[in-house]
């Protein structure tokens, strides 16, 4: 069991205004040519919540996240973050607004060490200009040291002390996912967007990750959106769950409510009308044989 850990500086320093993360998605539609990836999605995330987005493969979960983080441009609808319309914002300006993300297929900088990777998360918080940078003036040095201290606290929190100077390319998969989470935390986001943080992990790695996410969310009030396939994790840690299927929102609510929603069960287990037809055909077959 872990001993007591201090709260990282980025959370210690947050006052009320800095934690606020109210995301509102209004009738969002996205299509690629003839394929309707998202149609009329409404969604809300409030400060301090951990909202999970689930759905079968191809349901549009990642597309929704890509819209929120500026990688895709929705054709219709609006995304409002803390009262500001951010639908047309570019990806890099969204990180400044306070939306930080991790990727489904790890997108780290393979040649760099863990520390340099995380240092890139601090890029938007470095305030010095090019000329002082050229001369590495004392103020630049001071700022670099300040960011390093912040990173070390995140490294402590994520238990990555042993690998901080290792090149990311040499790390196992689960560890890379953790580095990516660390890099996203270094952005100091108000809203943390996680795209399948548990994919391809062993049970132990999943347990560690759950512990980190719970501590971030419950302990320090980090608002998060999570896309995940592992139902046992989603149902046990999220405040609310949104279910997507073929680009449409099927259901939304607490984990318990969603679990017992017949539409959700139908989408996952393939039930309802279609299942009925199949059964009758089956019966027919049996009759033929009989």
């Amino acid at each position: 069991m872990k001993s007591f850990r201090g709260e990282p500086e980025i959370y210690r320093q947050r006052d009320q205004g800095r934690t606020e993360a109210e995301l509102e998605v209004k009738s969002l539609s996205l299509s690629f040519g003839g394929i309707q990836a998202l149609s009329d999605i409404d969604m809300e995330v409030h400060t301090g919540e951990l909202v999970a987005v689930i759905g079968p493969n191809g349901a549009g979960k990642t597309s929704l996240l890509n819209c929120m983080t500026g990688y895709y441009r929705p054709q219709k609808g609006r995304i409002i973050f803390n009262g500001k319309d951010v639908t047309r914002h570019s990806t890099h300006s969204l990180t400044r607004v306070g939306i930080g993300r991790t990727f489904q297929n790890i997108e780290l900088f393979p040649g760099m060490t863990v520390l340099s990777n995380m240092m890139l998360g601090r890029h938007i918080h470095c305030r010095y200009g090019l000329i002082p940078g050229c001369f590495f003036s004392p103020s630049v040095r001071k700022e670099e040291i300040r960011h390093r201290r912040i990173l070390e606290e995140i490294i402590d929190f994520l238990e990555m002390q042993a690998i901080r100077n290792k090149p990311v390319g040499s790390l196992p998969y689960g560890m890379r996912k953790r580095v990516e989470l660390g890099r996203a935390l270094a952005l100091d986001p108000r809203l943390l967007v996680l795209d399948e943080p548990f994919a391809g992990m062993t049970l132990e790695e999943k347990e560690d990750m759950v512990r980190f996410l719970l501590e971030l969310n419950a302990g320090w009030g980090q608002t998060m959106i999570l896309v995940e396939h592992d139902m046992s994790i989603v149902m046990s840690i999220s405040t609310r769950v949104t279910v997507l299927n073929f680009g449409e929102k099927l259901a939304e609510g607490t984990p318990e409510a969603v679990q017992s929603d017949p539409k959700v069960i139908a989408a996952y287990l393939g039930g309802g009308q279609e299942n009925g037809n199949g059964l009758s055909r089956d019966n027919g077959l049996q009759a033929d044989i009989g």
Binding site: H92, P110, M112, L120, L130, C134, R148
Partner: protein, 356 residues
Amino acid sequence: MRDLKFHPCGNYRESYREELTVFETDFGRLWMALGLAVLFGVVPWTTSPYMLYVINTIGIMAIAAIGLNILIGSTGLISLGHGAFFGVGAYAAGVLASSWNVPIYLAVPAAGIITALTGMIFGIPSGRLKGLYLAIATLAGQFIIEYVLVHWEDVTQGTMGITLPDPSILGVSLRGDRPFFFVIFIVLAAMTWMAVNIMRTRFGRAFVAIRDNDRAAEGMGIPVFPYKLLSFGISSFYAGIAGAIWAFYMISITAEPFTMMMSVEFIAMVIIGGLGSISGSILGAVFITMLNETLRWVTDILMNAGGLAGLELTLAPLRELAFGLAIVLFILFEPKGLAEIWRVVRSSFRLWPFSY
């Protein structure tokens, strides 16, 4: 005074400040200081004028190569127009010095800034193009600049070229190889130091991030296109400074040397030296310049040897051939370039006699 560190057997650093140092040990600092002392104290006073000319050329090429390495090695953008940017710097300094009598210490930085702006304009295609396509776009830049240098006669005096006035700093005339040796190598030392600093601050990290994964770089809040332009600007700034010093050193300039061949030479320096390595750029400049001079020497001997005079035309492409061969051999056997060879040699010295 703090304890001096030579080769500690582990990581004994106690503050983040110590982690930010350029040299890992005081041993490295000592070697650097010794190297600079020999460079400035011994080299200019003991070498022959011809050797000094070669060394000066190396210094100028090294400045430009460092710039190109920031663009190609660190940001991952290929530019085939570096020779032309070098020419822009030379002409900018030439025009400033001959038409407006701007002193050398103002003309050189001004030429650097003019070239940086030019480079940023020709870097605009990098917003849309990558890899080979960008190389072709910058190749167009090379030919456009060459054309302008020859045909914008009001400013560049076309094929006549420009003759620069005698440069002087604070009344001290700079003429000849030795004074220029100091100008070139002080500028090289300063520009190297600045490049090291750029690479260890947020700008350098952003460049490497764009090279490694531009999608993730965007996700980290780095506006990719402006940073690509910045990289073009910095790299052309280096080329401009080098070109300007070269113009003052050569006294008279024409558009002739700033061709495609020069751009290829710069790329060869960067690849042979080691992509993304600042010390590698300097080593690459040494290697290519020495190769050039050796080949000239060899062809001279062969041509003067009796009965071989007719081979002149056959031997002319020898230089290009040796160039291509050197690049191919390096890519095959040491893709990380001379910088990696240097690192291996250094660490084998350090670990001797227990290298395993």
